[in-house]
């Protein structure tokens, strides 16, 4: 299959390893991977802030780039939700309405694509560590992804998954929310980190780098030993 991999803007700039791991995994499974170089951002920041005209300016070229894709795979639950769930709303009653719907139906979040579409559960990865999984809210509640990442982690050799009590609680990132209301965002992050620490995990794993950026930022500022890592990086460790 030819897979069009959508690398979110912050993964591109800040967490290239997560993106590289996705390419390696998908190619390792024998698929052809394309990464449209003209895509930079899905348009979520202006969309979530209420600037829908400005969001369409960013999103329209994305639709254009994804027009002929057989399958679109997005390495983030949040950007995945933007394309899959919110593009049809953003482009409703515009000339691109139909296209947005079509692309939505061909779009997958990375872990859900592996398990739900390809039926892959074991990638032969090894990661001998105790980890806990953070459900990014968009992946969890907009796209309904809960099991896929856990199924994949369940097959990683040496990995021990310990669920935290606040697994489904928002970490407090929330895009521009983190900068507009930093004090609330920080309080939420502290609750999350405390819950993760209770599990005794060495790593917080997630399918959303944006949440991890926020959590890692808090953890390293506070000098806490627990680390964060994207699911794809865990799955690519041999």
């Amino acid at each position: 299959m030819t897979i069009t991999l959508f690398i979110p803007c912050f993964v591109d700039a800040l967490f290239p390893c997560a993106g590289i791991s996705m390419v390696q995994i998908l190619e390792g499974l024998g698929h052809k991977v394309l990464c449209p170089e003209k895509i930079s951002c899905c348009g979520q920041p202006p969309f979530n802030s209420g600037y829908w005209d400005e969001a369409r300016t960013v999103a329209a070229p994305v639709l254009e780039q994804l027009k002929d894709a057989e399958a679109v795979v997005i390495g983030s639950g949040s950007c995945g939700a933007m394309v899959k769930k919110f593009y049809p709303e953003l482009f409703a009653s515009t000339p691109q309405a139909q296209l947005a719907k079509q692309i939505s139906s061909r779009t997958w979040e990375f872990s859900d694509f592996l398990v739900g579409k390809l039926g892959i559960t074991d990638l032969g990865a090894k990661f001998p560590h105790r980890v806990t999984f953070h459900d990014g809210c968009h992946g969890l509640r907009e796209l309904g992804i809960k099991k896929s990442p856990r199924i994949l982690l369940g097959h990683v050799q040496g990995l021990q998954l310990v669920e935290m009590s606040e697994a489904e609680t928002c970490c407090g990132f929330g895009g521009t929310f983190a900068a507009k209301f930093p004090m609330i965002s920080t309080a939420m992050g502290e609750v999350k980190c405390a819950s993760a620490a209770e599990t005794g995990a060495e790593y917080i794993v997630s399918n959303d780098s944006s949440c991890l950026m926020h959590l890692q930022g808090l953890l390293s500022r506070q000098g806490k030993p627990i680390k964060t890592i994207h699911l794809a990086e865990v799955l690519a460790r041999q």
């Binding site: 690398i7 803007c9 993964v11 591109d12 700039a13 800040l14 967490f15 290239p16 993106g19 590289i20 390419v23 990464c35 170089e37 003209k38 930079s40 951002c41 348009g43 920041p45 202006p46 979530n48 802030s49 209420g50 600037y51 829908w52 400005e54 969001a55 300016t57 960013v58 070229p61 809210c137 509640r141 907009e142 489904e168 609680t169 928002c170 407090g172 990132f173 929330g174 895009g175 929310f177 983190a178 900068a179 507009k180 209301f181 930093p182 004090m183 609330i184 965002s185 920080t186 309080a187 939420m188 992050g189 609750v191 950026m213 926020h214 890692q216 930022g217 808090l218 390293s220 500022r221």
Partner: protein, 464 residues
């Protein structure tokens, strides 16, 4: 920024760092969560029940005119006086007129969020009346001269010790840490008030169109006494409280108890159908119902967000909301807090003044997931943001997003922007977290990730 927004920011800043508050709320809600989950599990099909509740509410709200007329006709047939109030002012004036007609001096009042919404107590007190709240939680916050903290648990932010101190100070009672004893102290004060009150004011949890009755659900029996003892009863309710059929309560009463307090059913569930009828030996001689609009019909006219009128005020969305849990109920500065408050306050009190509540959300969707009547809460926050920008965009924010769009659509510029970011990082480290730091909002409490030398796109281009 509106003054309400400035207040919100100020209080949110303090509260979100208040670890004592965080712990009190977490403990209180921890118990609630366990009970709620158990009660939910007792439903044969909780998701099916939610769906059914949403359908019934949809029917009621989308044919509100029909059901209200039915409701009122039945009420009037049994001698209840029905008043329509378009605004809070009108509702207050109607109630004050009843007070004047009855030459009332003292009023006993059971819990009613609509009364909070229109600041009824203030108006009554200004008119020289003595008003006593008789729901225990409301009684406590009234003694503290503060608004309810939560729509279901008005005093959940207080510890037993604080309540005991309050009672010692205000009522002269002996110190105690025993919840039963605290309740008894309040009861002793309140019982006297019931017997001397001229008017009892209640809210309503549901109104049944089919039979012309209201349903009040409670745990302390205080609403029953409020309705039964004074000669005149006044009920203030929002027009959206109507349910079509009596049988609908079979779903809504256990649902409200489950989500509100984690109970299978609350202790007292009472239906009121009219004032004392000829030949009856008790009940109020007169019953007035005030039906409050106060911008609800405007929300009704908004097809996108009309479902916000489904709300049964169970408080469940507040309980799961990480924003509410960290900033607390009073920070919202308005009657309805938490997700539902952030959705409807802009409709009730003005979008531009209250849009900050819709912005103060990570859009995590926990509220929507829990809401028993399936209100699309967090998407309504998103729509409020869009509507607020449509009405009055923030100049610099829009400019920033236009610039962002311009760069994002030009891969060459985008890659230069990334490079600039990388070059700027060492400089930013020097001013980290200070007033000079452009990323201060982030870096005051969080480190920025180091920007790697090679971006994903660099890697992708190089390997080809």
């Amino acid at each position: 920024m509106s003054t309400f927004a400035a207040q919100f920011l100020k209080h949110a800043r303090v509260m979100s760092g208040d670890l004592r508050h965080r712990k009190i709320i977490r403990t209180a809600l921890g118990n609630y969560e366990i009970a709620r989950d158990q009660r939910q599990a007792a439903f044969q099909d909780w998701q099916g029940a939610r769906q059914l509740a949403a359908v019934i509410k949809w029917e009621a709200v989308n044919h509100l005119d029909k059901y209200l007329e039915q409701f009122v006709a039945k009420l009037e047939a049994r001698g209840t006086k029905v008043h329509w109030a378009s605004t809070g002012d009108q509702a207050r004036e109607i109630i004050l007129q009843i007070v004047r007609d009855k030459k009332a001096r003292s009023i006993i009042k059971s819990k009613a969020m609509t009364a909070e919404e229109i600041h009824l107590n203030d108006a009554l007190e200004k008119a020289g009346l003595n008003v006593v709240e008789n729901d225990l939680g409301e009684f406590i916050v009234q003694l503290r001269h503060e608004a309810p903290y939560h729509i279901v648990f008005p005093s959940m932010h207080l510890t037993r010790g604080e309540i005991s101190e309050l009672f010692q100070r205000e009522l002269g009672s002996a110190p105690t840490n025993d919840p039963e004893e605290l309740t008894m102290i309040a009861r002793r004060v309140l019982r006297k008030k019931y017997l001397t009150a001229d008017i009892g004011i209640t809210g309503a949890n549901f109104a049944i169109a089919e039979t012309g009755m209201i349903s009040i659900t409670e745990n302390e029996g205080n609403a029953r006494l409020t309705a039964a003892l004074p000669k005149t009863m006044v009920t203030l309710m929002g027009i959206e409280k109507v349910l079509p059929k009596l049988a609908d309560l079979a779903l809504f009463l256990p649902m409200l108890a489950t989500m509100g307090t984690g109970q299978q059913i609350t202790c007292y569930n009472t239906m009121y159908g009219g004032p004392r009828q000829p030949g009856e030996s008790d009940g109020p001689e007169e019953w007035h119902i005030v039906l409050l609009d106060n911008h609800r019909t405007e929300l009704l006219a908004d097809a996108e967000q009309r479902d916000a009128l489904h709300c049964i005020r169970c408080g469940a969305c507040l309980n799961v909301c990480p924003i509410f849990r960290n900033v607390g109920g009073h920070t919202y500065g308005t009657t309805y807090s938490g997700p539902i408050g952030s959705v409807i306050t802009p409709h009730l009190r003005g979008l531009q003044d209250w849009k900050h509540l819709s912005n103060a959300s990570s859009l995590c969707g926990a509220c929507t997931q829990t809401c028993p009547v399936k209100i699309d809460l967090h998407h309504h926050l998103l729509q409020n943001r869009r509507n607020a920008v449509k009405g009055k965009p923030a100049f610099f924010e829009r400019l920033a997003y236009q610039a962002f769009g311009f760069v994002a659509n030009r891969p060459a510029l985008w890659s230069i922007a990334k490079k600039l970011g990388r070059l700027g990082q060492p400089l930013q480290k020097l001013v980290k977290g200070s007033a000079l730091d452009p990323a201060k909002a982030w870096t005051q409490t969080r480190d920025l990730p180091p920007q790697p030398k090679e971006s994903f796109k660099d890697w992708w281009t190089n390997r080809k």
